[in-house]
């Protein structure tokens, strides 16, 4: 258990640090979905509601911080998808990155549970489209050229 928490944290800290625009955020999200839908991946194991609670609490806290830092960076640089073309309609400044990060983490957690019992990635993807909507990182947003993982 302990090792899967450490591995998720190490990988998330590396991959979220690279995210500087909406397209990269969409790439991050695709990678996480893939991990969570793989039954024995460290991601899927780490989010199961069993095992060491303080360890998981620590992982979730730090993961949320990493997501919040990433969102702050995106908001500051104005690099979130539609902010470039529709700033009049959607003032990005009103988004609270800390709270948005809680929703994104909840969407990962709750969405993957719904997807696991349904044996279908759709609920997880729908949950993330919902949570990431203000940051324009929806599934069909990323141009195909970025799919080089």
């Amino acid at each position: 258990m302990r090792t899967c928490f450490a591995e998720v944290l190490a990988r998330e800290s590396a991959s979220l640090a690279e995210v500087t625009d909406g397209v990269m955020l969409a790439n991050w999200r695709r990678r996480v979905v893939k991990e969570l839908m793989t039954p024995r991946s460290p991601y899927a194991l780490a989010l199961r509601q069993s095992g060491d609670v303080p360890e998981r609490a620590d992982l979730l806290d730090r993961w949320r911080e990493l997501i919040a830092e990433t969102l702050e960076r995106l908001l500051k640089s104005g690099a979130t998808g539609n902010a470039l073309c529709s700033s009049a309609q959607t003032p990005r400044a009103d988004i609270d990155a800390q709270k948005a990060a809680v929703l994104i983490l909840a969407a990962l957690h709750g969405g993957s549970t719904l997807s696991q019992i349904a044996r279908d990635p759709w609920p997880l993807n729908a949950a993330l489209d919902f949570a990431l909507a203000p940051f324009a990182a929806t599934e069909d947003d990323g141009p195909t050229r970025t799919r080089n993982e």
């Binding site: 979730l60 909840a106 969407a107 709750g110 919902f130």
Partner: protein, 178 residues
């Protein structure tokens, strides 16, 4: 069982908690999987009944917020420790137990249908934009709720659940037609 979690519950725990003998238990339930299914049916029925009462006639954002308030208040009483009975079962049911998984999946579909009903009424009254995808929003809201319960349970603090559902409702409100 849903306090302790399915994986950590043994038949002996059930015997100790219920005061029945092993032979009586096996007489009623064909091993642990059957017992887990009986718990799912029982918990599921209660949750769906509660949610039908709470959501069946909601047709405003304010009504959705009252639904949220009651769930958050209930969960706050125990510092979020118990989480959602149905969500806890869903995150723990083993991969090999297809029937249990299917039963949970049906229950969540039913619950989400109640949320979709509210969103459809919001759409009918012109509050929610007609192009909004009701199924996607209902799924997003359910995941925010369930994920929020799980974060609260792990943190032993109801705050992340409240934040997650608030953010979800704020997003739905931001899609309003007006």
């Amino acid at each position: 069982m849903y306090v302790q979690g399915v994986g950590d519950t043994t038949l002996d725990d059930v015997l100790a908690a219920s005061g029945v003998s092993k032979s009586q238990l096996y007489h009623h339930f064909d091993g642990k999987d059957a017992l887990v299914r009986a718990v799912i049916d029982h918990v599921g029925e209660r949750v769906i009944e509660r949610e039908r009462d709470a959501l069946g006639h909601v047709s405003t954002i304010a009504g959705l917020r009252r639904w949220r308030d009651s769930l958050v208040q209930n969960n706050a009483l125990r510092h979020g420790a118990y989480g959602c009975a149905l969500g806890s079962l869903a995150s723990e049911v083993t991969d090999h137990d297809t029937l249990a998984r299917q039963a949970l999946s049906n229950l969540f579909t039913e619950w989400q249908g109640l949320l979709a009903g509210v969103l459809r009424r919001l759409q009918d009254s012109g509050v929610l934009a007609p192009e909004a995808s009701v199924d996607q929003l209902a799924t997003g809201l359910m995941a925010a709720l369930q994920g929020g319960y799980m974060l609260a349970q792990t943190a032993r603090d109801v705050t992340p659940m409240a934040t997650s559902v608030d953010m979800a409702l704020a997003h739905i409100e931001s899609l309003s037609a007006g």
